[in-house]
């Protein structure tokens, strides 16, 4: 790991200013302040300095200097991350890729686009719409988040059951290694010889390299999409209905579930016409050719009715479809309105355990005395519990964190994982010890060392140091035992 930097802030800044516009080598606290955190604002740290290069050559030189002096480097895109993956290192450099914001090339026939990493996710689809194409992964933050960050987090979105995650939708990346080498991983073809380094890079949270270019695959825009909304009087029934759709051979473009709390909040916010009395709501979007959508929508409606839906409604126009989605897409800010603060979790679970997990969560909610609302990417088992709290009440955030950590442990217990799409970052680093044993974590450290021998890329994130894991596991165990005993007595 890194030791104390052998170079001062002033010396480092001077070296950078020799080849980067001095205005974009930032060392004063006031200008650096916005970089102290990402979307996970509970975790803050001021960096030693911030640098905004604008060419891959400049990134290379920055990396060579930092590698030589063993200065930590934290890459940053739009800063929308939700696990503090882009939180600065206090003795390190924040390398912002904000100036890499150009779409370099679009090839409509090959259905590919070559992008700089700072291009916003939504901007890609907007730009290629003229060719009848779009980019598949659509994380909720797509207005702001960038493709470079998407690669770092392997971002998904509401359509990934059918269209996959970032890893399924990119062809190649150009990256600068920790040692300042410029390499291309992947090609214009669908695979390359040797180990699949492109998959390894995707979701590596800035720990293995700095991406300076991404080539994505584009998809033909479906002729038509329609949404069926179905309300249920229990979560169990809604869960069964999800299974019913899939057993029917239908793979929806999007399949989302909300619980009672989220339904009311979202409907208050968006006036989407949700069934407010329902305990669970499903939004099932089917896309494709007109014939196919017509066929599948009819089947979906029947499946929902047969499996006990209390209300079923299908969008009849684009406006109506947009409105039904608006509620779901604004669920986070909607919940934000009914609570001073909320903490968004990101576990995944095998879908068959959904009812059990929600029930357990309800119990925990009472134990921790904190409310929780649930939105769920039901198609792929990705659960986003939103814990409502007030940061101004002393001790409430700590309790929220403890609640969150119990939820993640529960996800692992039922065969799921601690993060579906937000990444580990700093936030979930302790839970890594629950998901993996020491041998597996050591293998991760060894993988990192293969790319970054000096350990300068985003140190302290993603994979915990083994010496802390034992302690954390025994702590968790005690906590768990305590909870179980409490529950038994309660």
């Amino acid at each position: 790991m890194t030791t104390k930097p052998k170079i001062s802030r002033a010396e480092l800044a001077e070296q950078f200013r020799a080849f980067i516009d001095p205005d974009f080598v930032i060392t004063d606290d006031e200008t650096m302040k916005p970089y102290e955190c990402d979307g996970m604002s509970m975790y803050c740290e001021m960096p030693m300095l911030v640098v905004l290069p604008e060419t891959a050559e400049q990134v290379q030189r920055v990396m060579r200097i930092c590698n030589e002096h063993e200065v930590p480097v934290v890459a940053r895109g739009a800063g929308t991350g939700l696990s503090a993956g882009a939180m600065p290192h206090k003795e390190g450099v924040v390398l912002s890729l904000a100036k890499f914001n150009r779409i370099l090339d679009i090839d409509p026939l090959a259905r590919t686009a070559r992008l700089q990493p700072g291009v916003r996710n939504l901007a890609i689809s907007e730009e290629v719409a003229q060719f009848g194409l779009y980019y598949g992964p659509d994380p909720s933050s797509q207005i702001a988040c960038t493709i470079g960050g998407n690669v770092a987090e392997n971002s998904g979105g509401v359509h990934c059951l059918k269209y996959g995650l970032t890893v399924h939708n990119i062809l190649s990346v150009e990256m600068i290694t920790a040692e300042g080498e410029r390499v291309t991983i992947g090609s214009d073809g669908l695979d390359v010889c040797g180990m699949d380094l492109l998959a390894l890079m995707t979701g590596s949270e800035g720990l293995l390299g700095i991406v300076t270019e991404v080539t994505v695959k584009l998809l033909p825009k479906p002729e038509i999409a329609q949404v069926v909304m179905a309300g249920f009087d229990s979560v169990q029934k809604a869960g069964d209905a999800v299974g019913g759709i899939i057993s029917h051979g239908i793979i929806p473009g999007g399949l989302e579930m909300m619980d009672g709390y989220a339904i009311i909040a979202a409907d208050d916010f968006a006036q989407a016409g949700y069934p407010r009395e329902a305990k669970a709501l499903l939004l099932c979007e089917v896309d494709g050719t007109e014939e196919e959508v017509h066929e599948h929508i009819e089947q979906a409606e029947n499946v929902f009715r047969k499996l006990g839906a209390t209300s079923v409604k299908t969008s009849q126009s684009e406006e109506e479809r947009a409105l039904l989605w608006k509620g779901r897409k604004s669920a986070f800010p909607a919940v934000g309105r009914i609570s001073p603060d909320y903490y968004c979790m990101d576990g995944t679970i095998p879908r068959r355990h959904l009812a059990h997990v929600l029930l357990e969560m309800e119990k925990m909610s009472k134990e921790f005395d904190l409310r929780v609302a649930n939105v769920f990417h039901a198609g792929d088992g990705n659960l986003h519990p939103l814990i409502l709290f007030d940061a101004n009440v002393p001790g409430e955030f700590e309790r929220t964190e403890a609640f969150g950590s119990s939820i993640l442990n529960l996800c692992v217990e039922v065969g799921g994982c601690i993060t579906g799409e937000h990444g580990v970052g700093v936030e979930k680093i302790r839970q890594m010890a629950v998901q993996f044993n020491d041998e597996e974590l050591q293998q991760f450290h060894d993988v990192k060392a293969a790319f970054d021998p000096a350990g300068i890329l985003n140190p302290g994130k993603g994979v915990p140091a083994l010496r802390f894991c034992q302690e954390y596991r025994s702590l968790e165990y005690k906590q768990h035992k305590h909870d179980t005993v409490d529950a038994a007595h309660g």
């Binding site: 059951l161 090609s187 073809g189 695979d191 040797g194 180990m195 792929d380 041998e439 293998q443």
Partner: protein
């Protein structure tokens, strides 16, 4: 159906002690792939490490031990109306799931349905220290830790012995239909890509012997409506053509002539090389038969935005995979060392230097 992971582990630990190397073998149907195996090495046999560990049709997820045959897996899935929609090739009855991932093999549907690597959700792996590690999981979204599961795709066992794989499965399409028509090779790249650009249920686009084949698959109404709009004749027994392509039983693949695989940009002009060609994956995968110098073909592949490998036949003592640039070679050597510090597994099988 048996779990022999403990025996495998002991064999690895013993090999580590005695300095022996190990060739990993599943059903033994892919022995022709990669560089020639080290004849001094022992064999780590996965063929008996078999069985479907878990299968939840409603979750679209299956977990099987690496030595389980594709035949068994696909038969089990078929009972539930599901399939491996990356259409893995079988080179014999014994072809296993583990070998399919290690060699990253997928069939004609690959550009639309994804590859075997795309469907992998998690693995268990015995590394060179004999540690039985678990990566990924049985859920479709999982970003905890590095994606060392998909890293195995194409690594040809050089990082360890994959012992178990969880992967996403899909419903079988309700119907499929093949359109065929005559077309010269010069026109076919543009034609296939134009079709692939339309939002229609296409799941196959190949060209061989002056004919282009397009497969439509999905909801009956959508397939039939598209077939009416597009040119080409509906092919009798079209499924048979795609199966021959998938399992490399088409006449094009017969004989001992070296078989080269170009994995290139789908719209790239075809390499200027006389001889028989078969184009698949709407232009992204192109097969060539003939004696050739790999360095010369690499230049051509690079110009087409991709890479080339000697898939079968020819000189297998020399390199058979597209060369790696220095930086990537070093990273892969270090990765190899991190998983297999003593270089036990499949020495020299992928590259002479690995």
């Amino acid at each position: 159906m048996a779990d022999i992971s403990q025996t495998l582990k002991e064999q690895i630990l013993q090999a580590r002690q005695t300095g022996q190397k190990l060739n990993i073998e599943g059903g033994g149907t892919k022995a022709f792939m990669g560089r020639a195996a080290d004849t001094d090495a022992g064999t780590l046999k996965l063929a008996e490490h078999t069985g479907i560990v878990e299968y939840h049709p409603v979750e679209l997820i299956l977990t099987a031990r690496a030595g389980t045959s594709l035949a068994e897996i696909e038969a089990t899935l078929a009972e539930e109306g599901q399939c491996l929609h990356f259409e893995p090739p079988r080179f014999g009855d014994g072809s296993t799931l583990g070998g399919t991932l290690a060699c990253n093999l997928s069939g004609p549907a690959r550009p639309w349905s994804g590859s075997v690597r795309d469907q992998v959700l998690g693995i268990r792996l015995l590394n060179g220290r004999g540690e039985h590690l678990r990566f990924g999981g049985q859920v479709m979204k999982n970003v905890a830790g590095y994606d060392t599961s998909r890293l195995q795709a194409g690594a040809m066992g050089t990082l360890g012995a994959i012992t178990e794989i969880s992967l996403k499965v899909m419903p079988k399409p309700a119907m499929s239909l093949t359109l065929v028509q005559d077309m010269p090779m010069d026109d076919v790249i543009h034609y296939m890509n134009s079709r692939a650009k339309e939002p229609k249920p296409i799941t196959g686009a190949a060209w061989v012997d002056g004919k282009v084949y397009l497969r439509l698959a999905g909801a009956k109404s959508a397939v039939e409506a598209t077939a009416k709009k597009w040119t080409g004749e509906v092919m009798e027994q079209g499924d048979q053509f795609w199966q021959q392509l998938q399992h490399m039983q088409h006449d094009f693949f017969a004989g001992d002539e070296p078989l080269w695989r170009f994995s290139v940009g789908s719209t790239a002009a075809n390499p200027d090389l006389d001889g028989p060609w078969l184009i698949d994956w709407a232009g992204s995968q192109r097969w060539y038969r003939g004696e050739a110098d790999i360095a010369r073909l690499e230049t051509m592949a690079k110009r087409a935005g991709g890479q080339v490998s000697l898939f079968r036949g020819g000189d297998r003592t020399d390199e058979v995979m597209h060369h790696q640039p220095r930086a990537l070679k070093e990273i892969q050597q270090r990765l190899k060392k991190s998983f297999d510090p003593d270089g036990i597994f499949n020495p020299g099988r992928l590259y002479s230097w690995l």
